[in-house]
Symmetry: C2
Subunit: 380 residues, 2 copies
């Protein structure tokens, strides 16, 4: 265990990077996928099951946790790690994104955002300073700067104004984070590049953040409806703007093919609700594309969901059983498919890390795309 946050870059393969985050809660091999534990639980998973998939870091949501159970309460109970019995590193978001997507009666000004809770209508406010305080109270090992996620599509002038507000908030986030001296000395603050799809705005944002200085850099404002091609174009011109000796995090992304494409463009960290949320609706990600367990073709199928997967859902149960659980709305169906999806995501990341280490990411990606294109095994 290290005494403070750092990042080691082990090697590269094209634009792709292999490295490790060192945190006071343990190391994280990168590129890494972080399962989302919104409300102090990765939904339908025990913490040791999350770890068993190979996940080394999880994400918590400031917006949800500040409303319920409340940051001060979590702190009084010993912090988020102890509260949810997850003892590896935790990254928390700043709350900014979810205030704008979930809360009611939002009002945004230079100071921050006031809003009403989507749970009970109670009034709250979030500022860079309060977001830093909440994330410190939770005990986050990686804290995200408080920013405004620019809507899409957006006029360039509005994107510029929004980005510059986020840069002023990034400065205040840095100051607020550093004010928690003991926590700051051991943990990390990441800045978030904004600027929508505009290269000059992304350049201005990246320069502003580098000027402030952060332990890591996130690319925000993507996966908001711009489409994969545009997202990749933005990454193509944005990741080269980021300091090479710091980790790079693409927020809220994504599908397996998004992860592969973004790793090839130099991204080190990801989070997304897709594997967990899909697991609760009978959707599985596999080496041969997505499989819908609600489909009648599976009900007599004695074969495993994904032959290449060692998770409990695939190694001990049939598609027929998983389809039965899904159709019956059984909680165990959500448990098993969530586990599988997280296992698949972690296996994909491990495969990419290994390939980068061998300088073989192109071949790995080709194999990945061939499997996805081949599609699911034919019905029995």
């Amino acid at each position: 265990m290290t005494e403070r946050f750092s990042f080691t870059l082990h090697g590269t393969d094209g634009a792709a990077r292999r490295g490790a985050l060192h945190t006071v809660r343990g190391d994280v091999e990168t590129p890494a996928f972080m399962p989302v534990g919104t409300a102090a639980t990765v939904k339908a998973m025990l913490p040791e099951s999350v770890a068993a998939t190979g996940a080394q870091i999880i994400l918590g949501n400031t917006y949800h946790l500040m409303l319920r159970p409340g940051a001060e309460r979590v702190a009084a109970l010993g912090g988020l790690h102890r509260f949810m019995d997850w003892h590896g590193p935790i990254l928390t978001d700043s709350g900014g994104f979810q205030v704008m997507s979930l809360a009611k009666l939002r009002k945004l000004d230079e100071r921050g955002v006031t809003f009403q809770s989507h749970l009970d209508g109670s009034s709250h406010s979030l500022t860079p300073e309060r977001s830093m305080e909440i994330q410190r109270l939770l005990g986050a090992n990686i804290v995200m700067a408080f920013d405004e996620c620019t809507r899409f599509p957006v006029e360039k002038r509005e994107a510029a104004e929004s980005m510059r507000l986020s840069m002023r908030w990034a400065r205040r986030s840095r100051d607020g984070f550093d004010a928690g001296a003991e926590h700051a000395s051991r943990n990390a603050l990441f800045g978030i590049v904004q600027g929508s799809v505009f290269e000059d705005l992304r350049r201005e944002s990246a320069a502003a953040l580098a000027d402030i200085g952060f332990e890591g850099y996130a690319v925000g404002g993507l996966a908001v409806g711009e489409g994969r091609e545009t997202m990749f174009e933005v990454l193509d011109f944005t990741t080269p703007l980021l300091p090479a000796d710091r980790p790079r995090y693409l927020m809220g992304v994504g599908k397996p093919s998004d992860l592969v494409g973004a790793v090839m463009r130099g991204i080190d960290m990801f989070d997304c609700v897709l594997p967990t949320r899909s697991g609760r609706t009978g959707q599985a990600f596999t080496r041969r594309g997505t499989v819908n367990l609600n489909n009648a073709r599976h009900v007599d199928d004695s074969r495993p969901l994904d032959e290449g997967c060692a998770c409990p859902a695939c190694s001990r149960f049939s598609r027929a059983y998983l389809a039965h659980l899904t159709r019956a709305g059984e909680i165990l169906g959500a448990m098993l498919l969530t586990w599988h999806n997280l296992q698949y995501y972690q296996d994909l990341m491990a495969g990419m890390r290994d390939a980068i280490g061998r300088g073989a990411l192109e071949a790995f990606a080709a194999g990945f795309h061939a499997g996805q294109a081949e599609g699911d095994i034919p019905p029995l």
Copy 2:
């Protein structure tokens, strides 16, 4: 592993008995509580977690399984044990009780029951012969005779007619079970005593069943609204009517205090949805009575739910966390509280088995009742 079903009576303490079922899938120490796995899953539990609580046998529901996924389908997939990855013994009910409580447009005659599925309205019928066939297709280790659960309250004449129909069906169940020669040679068929609250009818029913001969005897038609005092009175005069060298099963019971009272009256086996269903609504059974995790008093409470319990919910999480999960409707809350409740039930049964072995069940029961009466720990 034995090659066929048998029962060993190890000893008694008053009317209470300590023994073991020997099945081709392993032994079951009695008195035993069987978690309910209605639709081929003990809800919100992985099979190994069920086993980790100490459960040695589970129950499956013929009515649910015949409708979805279907008995022939389960058989084609290798049987219920393999389908749900539970390799210990399984008892299946006959479907009779749930046809009467769940199905629509029921029609009962001498032959059996025709009904419409509560899932999709499709038409089905259940007879003693078909119930035996379904339970054989599922691969049950303990098969229950097909009977009519007499409604409560009921006139004595109607109770007598209903009981005598069940006794004719018990004969047909025996014949139908024995017709599956290979399955029958390795597994057990239990008869079910009916007769409502009438001692002479219970006596007539027990004699009719003993005349046919079964590997075990259940007491049916209780826990249907008659109240605990009446249930215990019926047990007081019914269990002495049952062959002492065969296991005795009280169907669908019950609360922890019901289990203690019934064990003291000579019952060896129980099943009930209460621990699993309660776990999904934030209700916990503990050594100090029931605890409602929805109650606001728990949200800041760093103490374990039940200090005497070694389950994951109690050993690794606080009441505050369990209350948070319950209030947030998180699946992990259902998972942890189900696990705890099943652990509590198994611990209670283990405590009673141990006490019977020491001739100390009276003292054990007094301690149990004192803890329940004391009630939950005071708020912090």
